[in-house]
Structures are given as C-alpha cells and as structure tokens.
Amino acid sequence: MNAPTPAEALAQPALAAPAVVSAAERAARQQQIVAALRPLLPAHALLHSREDTVPYECDGLTAYRALPLAVALPETEAQVAAVLKACHAIGVPVVARGAGTGLSGGAMPHTEGLVLSLAKFNKILKLDPLARTAVVQCGVRNLAISEAAAPFGLYYAPDPSSQIACTIGGNVAENSGGVHCLKYGLTVHNVLKVRGFTAEGEAVEFGSDALDCAGLDLLAVVIGSEGMLAVTTEVTVKLTPKPQLARCIMASFGDVRDAGNAVAAVIAAGIIPAGLEMMDKPMTAAVEDFVRAGYDLDAAAILLCESDGTPEEVEEEIGRMLAVLEGCGATRLQVSESEAQRLTFWSGRKNAFPASGRISPDYMCMDSTIPRKRLADILIAIAEMEKKYDLRCCNVFHAGDGNLHPLILFDANDPDQLHRCEQFGADILETSVALGGTVTGEHGVGVEKLSSMCVQFSPEERTQMIAVKTAFDPVGTLNPGKVIPTLHRCAEYGRMHVKKGLLPFPELERF
C-alpha cells in the first residue's frame, strides 16, 4: 500500500517508547508479560514470537512501525479485564487495536507494551428496530451494522471511506465522520453508549440507553480519545431511517474560487446537503483514469452535491441546489437519474486514495479542517506550495465540512522528496490553523500529528489535556505517547521550525 512516510518516527524511535533498552532487558520484559498473561488467555490468544507480532507493527499509517512485546487476542470481556489488570499491575503499556485501518498511527504498538487486539469481538448482540438502536461488539465493521439494519429500513449514518473494513470500536476512538456528516453527524452524534474497561480493568459504561445520563457527559470525551482513556468493548449505536431517495448533482467549475464560493452559497441558501464533496483537476484526472465515471476533465474543480429524503423533498431541493450552483458559475451540471448513476458519481470520490496510489509511488494524506469560506484560499496556497516544495498534490475535500484531504505525491525512496513532502504537509497544517482551522478533522492525531498539536494548542492547553488523560488513566497505561505531545517535544519542534527569524512558542524555556 502506498502510504505516508514521515521520517520523523524513524529518526526518533523514542517517539512512543522513551526508554531504550537492551535486547536482554527486552527479552526479560517479554518473558514477564507472557508469564503474567498466559494463565489468563487460551494459548492461541497470546502471541509473542516475532513472526506472529510483525503483522501488528503498524496500522494504516505504515511508515510508523514498532514491534510490541506481545499481542493478546481476548475473546471475552472477562479476559479483557484480566489482561488490563495484569498489565496495570506490572506497568505494561496497552495499545488497543481494531481493524488497524487508522491513518494517523493511533494503533501503532508501544515497543515496551502489549497490543490488545479486539478482533474477536465481532458480534452484533442486539438490533432493536422499534428503538432504532443496535448493540454491537467493538470489532463489528461499520458497514456490517448498516447491512444488518437494512431489512428494517434503517442504517448507521456515519460512513467513513474505509467503512467496509473499519470497526465501530475504531470509529469511537477516532470520532469518525464520512461523506454525509454535515447532515447526519459524526460518531459522537450517533452513539448512545460505550461499554468498556478502565486502564485498571474495571468495567465502565459511558452514556446510557436514554438520550443523556447523570453526571458529566463522559461519553463525549471518550469518543475521539484515540484509545487513551478507556478500552471500548461494546457500543450502542443509533440507527437512522433510510431516506426513500437520494440524488446527486455533479457540477463543474472553471475556477477553484468559483467552486469554493458555490459551497458557501449552497449553505447560505439554507440548504444542508446530504453530502457536499469537491475534487480538484489533478484529482479528477487521477480518479477518471481509475474508475471511468465520465468526470469532466476540463473542470478546475468538481462538486458532488447530494440531496436525500422523500421524492417530493429531493425534487424541491435539487431544484434549489441547481439554481445556486448555476448562479455561482457552474460550467456543467448533471443530476443522477438512477441509483446506479448516483453511485457512479461517487465512485471516483470514494476511490481517491487508491487512484492516487496508481499515479505515484507514495502519497501523504493530510486531514486538516478550515472554515468553508477559506476553501479557495487554501487551494491557492497549496498550489503555491507545490512549486515551493517541487511536489504534486491532488485535492479532495469534504467541502460541506471544510475538511481537506490533500494527497501529496512523492517517492519515499528519495530521501529528499520525503523530506520535502513532510515540510509540505506541515506547511498545509500550519496554514490551516492560521486560516482558523484545525490540524485534523477526522483521522486523528495518533503519532503522525503530534508536532502539529504544538502549533494548535498552548502549553497550558496541552497540560490540561494531559490532566484529562490522568483523570481516566492515572498511571498512563493506555496508548501512552499518542495525541498530546509533551512540552519537551514541542520545544524541540519549535527549534526545528524557525520562521522569519522568530522562534515559535517563545513562552517556553529553552536550552
């Protein structure tokens, strides 16, 4: 798989595992873990030989790799609790893992720790069509929930592009979105309850079967916490009635600025599209070559604008959308006439990543979010960066949410290209923050964007987040080293990025 390859992880093996230990110490530590866990698990559910643990050394961000000391594959909640208790007792870091499709290294193992694979938790426990809820184990795939709900006219709304493979537990960890979240919300809007275990191995339930729960809304902070606050084993999701009809408009624009303005204009007209996505010209060319969907190759940008609801509602909304898009200077407008055609329109957008993989040895995918009105500005800035770093970039956006996925094309075998690619990526993230946005919209911080967190948050804010972590996991057993960078790391990062003669983070003590 073509994948992002930031070299920082390679250059800094201490990223997630500060202690550098000798081979003998490592072997002793491994023996200790295996001895502690062996009585708790069936023999086949505990892996520690190199050939067995290598498949777990990375997630979807394949450039960041680390070999864990062991991998546990519990089959029951009692085993999960026992493993966590044992690891907590002997001070072993635990990294929970679902399908391993994450794109920010959130499930990258800890070199001194255990990978807790929850792959065996793959059952849909209950589907209640009357209550429109499903209780599923954490390892159930996102799409499998919608498939199980389909006979009742229901579905699970968040639809990340990886939905065929990614699990609901991973979705909870990342607060995953999808192409329909402007209208239907993110994971946090579609989950009622999470059952799981604390770092100490104690069973906990966040949220409830009602619409709220007593006390603080811990569910809101657990969702999107990248496995650092608790281990999720079971999720109660809301199911949504499937709209009777969905139709999609494909609109071409001769200028990216017009396309960006059209996005704002649709929303300003009081329309909340079911989906609103954008691809620039290089991306369109790459996907057309891959899926042959009949995209307009002359367009500077293409918008996909979807409406769903009752047939009357869709008819009315499509009419309003067409009028706005035309008024914004669309050069070509096409409305899907059948479900097959609608899916064809989407096929290119959904295949943007593999299509990029075909035209470049490697690519790095960014994930920042900006205010919608700055879409054209960031596109123009990225075009300048292409010249500055001498690398090509294809752009796909969840335009309705302002969530960008620039794909920087490079060859990881060329160290200079890799270096330029990293600088290019960091530049996009910092520009996004400067435009009023955030460094990650849906892929998570993981290990990949730790340094970018220094740009977005002050030392006090990062310290506050670390304190939140401590409230859930006082010893720091769960997924240590991810998401929140240390002050020291940010100081180092600041030193590497001297801008205009001024050091960023001047408030930090240095040297």
Binding site: L154, C213, G215, T310, E316, H443, E460, Q464
Partner: protein, 361 residues
C-alpha cells in the same frame, strides 16, 4: 480575548484560589433552581457579553458566555437560522453560558440532538486561572480530547465558560402540528413506529390521553407526512404557543407542577429509552422526546423514582423541588472516580460551584 471584563474575572479567580474561597458562577439566574445548593461568592459572567463572530454561511456562531440567550437567538433569526435544540429559557435573562453549562435541550432534542451536539469549541477559565481553548469553529475536529463537549451539562464544575462556538442550522422551512387521542401505551407504540420511518418528526408531547406531534422540514416532506399520518391539524399560531410552553415549561402541565412543588412535591425528569413501557408511577405525567423524556410530579420518595428509571435503563433527576444536594442520580463508583479526577484536573482547589452537581464535587 484580552480585555477588561475577562481580566477582572481572571483576577477574581486568582484571588479565590489564593484564599481558597469558593465561587458560585452566575449568569441570569434563570436556572438557579436546578442542581444542588452552592455556597460561594457570586461570580457574575454577564460582563463577558457579545457575539464575537457570526457568519451564516459557515453555520457557526462564536459568542461570549455572558451574552443573553435572547440576543443570540434574535441575531440568528435575523439570518433565518436557529439553535435547533431549542434550549429552554424558563424566564427572561438567561445566558448562553448557562445554556451550555446546564446542558438542557427542548422539544426538538430527539430529532436534532442536544446542546453538546452543537458545541464546536469553548474557551474556559480553569481553576488555575488559565484561559484555555478547546475545539474550534469548524464542523470536524479531532485534535486532542473533545473537552468542549464535556463542558455541556457540567454545571460549572470545571471552570468559567468564557466563550463558545456553536453549530447553527437554517430554521425549518415548514412545520405542522397534529393531535391524536391515544392512551399512554398506544402513544409510545405509535411514536416509536413512526420514528423508524423516514418522516420529518420534530417533537412530540403526550399528556392525559392526548398526543401532540410536530413535523418540521422541507415543505414537501411536511405535506406528505401530514397526509400519511392523519390526526387533527392544529392551527399554526396555537401550535407555536404550545411548543413554546413545552420548551420554556410555561405549559399548563408545568404550571400545575410548579404549584405542586410549592406544596412539597417534586417535578422529576426521567430520561429513559424511548421504548420503555409506561412506568406506572403515581402522579401527573407528561411524555416528551418520543418517550425518552418523562416528567412526573409526585411526592414519592427519591429512591422509588431512581429505581424505576434505572430499571428502565435511564436515570431520574429531581428537576424542581426535592432534597437539597440530591438532584442528580448517583453514578457508578468507577465513574465517580473519573468525575473526581476531572474535577481535580480542571479545578484542583475546588473553587467552582462546589456541590452544584454532586455534594462531593
């Protein structure tokens, strides 16, 4: 946000921290009845007022916490937008900060989500007198923990809300209100059956054998749903008044409840799964949220209400009246440990609103 109003509040917090004197965070005082009693010097956040930024095409408004809710809603209405979760106002003068801190939502809650679902970012003054911001002004944001949503419903436990960014939406183009004569069990069954269909359901209320249902959304969708569902169509002006009465608790049911509370009864709010069967509790009962929120006026003891709610899969809040310090259902010991940890993480000296959520926090 460097300014005199904020500086003055920061100074107050710094001083309170130094003397270890608790502060009772206040805005308009419209929800003073809600939660436990707080002993502390009042800290009025209303000087932190004003809409900081609002761009309708971004669907985001950033507003300072002391801004009157009415002012925010008027500014949104001027652009054809709204807070879709219909926060209850109870009385004039409530603030945006109070709305977020109380975390209460109105009749549209089951259809559109609650306050926390619309919080995109927040600036907080924590117990160390640090001004910290989380989240942002964009729809999707997973940079760090989602601290801003945690603040919704936190009852001022974690700090002084200074500013919040909220997602806003266009006002529904069309609405219709229908009325059906149904007993409680039949109403619950019907509401849940409709809930599984792609209908523009927006709100529901059942009391004393009568179910009132609101549809809202695109005109075409409302029209076709109206035809499909039947029932008696309620005049638009009358309907608007009814839903406002539900939202602000000025409806006849709540007026009666207020009188009963004065006489020593308690108005309980039970949040339960919407499919929970009739709870069989003594006293007047009003159902909202498709059955997921049930109001009960009773003098029955707290443990009885809590037990019924818990067995149904939910929890019971002594909303008005009830024993001081016992408004909210206790949480499991493992969760209380996390609550204590979070209180310590944000407010190590326990300055803010001690006792408002739970006596020990």
């Amino acid at each position: 946000m460097a300014d005199a109003a904020l500086d003055a509040i920061v100074d107050r917090v710094r001083a309170a921290r130094a003397d270890k004197t608790p502060l009772a965070i206040t805005g308009g005082g419209t929800k003073a009845f809600y939660g436990g009693p707080v002993t502390g010097a009042p800290l009025d956040v209303r000087p932190l007022a004003g809409i900081s930024s609002y761009e309708p095409s971004e669907l985001v408004v950033t507003v300072r916490a002391g801004t009157p809710l009415a002012e925010l809603e008027a500014a949104l209405a001027e652009k054809g937008q709204c807070l879709p979760f219909e926060p209850p106002r109870f009385a004039a003068g409530g603030t945006v900060g109070g709305m977020v801190a109380a975390g209460l939502s109105g009749p549209a809650r089951p259809a559109v989500g609650g306050v926390r679902d619309y919080v995109l970012g927040a600036t907080l003054l924590n117990g160390k007198a640090e001004v910290v911001s989380f989240g942002g002004q964009v729809m999707k944001n997973v940079a760090g923990y989602d601290v801003s949503r945690l603040l919704a419903g936190s009852m001022g436990l974690l700090g002084v809300l200074c500013e919040v960014s909220l997602k806003v939406l266009p006002q529904p183009v069309a609405a219709a209100t229908l009325r059906f004569e149904l007993d409680e069990a039949a109403a619950l069954r019907q509401l849940n059956t409709w809930g599984g269909q792609p209908l523009p359901l927006s709100a529901s209320a059942w009391w004393d054998g009568m179910l009132v249902l609101r549809l809202a959304g695109a005109a075409a969708a409302v029209q076709s749903a109206k035809r499909a569902l039947g029932g008696e169509v309620i005049d638009a002006a009358l309907a608007a008044g009814f839903w406002q009465g539900m939202r602000d608790q000025t409806d006849e049911f709540f007026v009666g409840a207020a009188k009963a509370v004065q006489g020593g009864a308690t108005l309980w709010r039970l949040a339960v799964p919407q499919t929970a069967p009739p709870l069989g509790l003594p006293g007047e009962q009003l159902l909202e949220w498709g059955g997921a929120q049930r109001w009960v006026v009773t003098s029955a003891p707290a443990p009885a209400l809590r037990d019924v709610a818990a067995r149904a899969g939910g929890h019971a809040t002594a909303f008005r009246g009830g024993a001081p310090g016992d408004a909210f259902a206790p949480v499991a010991p493992a969760l209380m440990t996390i609550h204590r940890g979070l209180k310590h993480a944000f407010d190590p000296d326990r300055i803010f609103n001690p006792g408002r959520l739970y006596p020990e926090l």
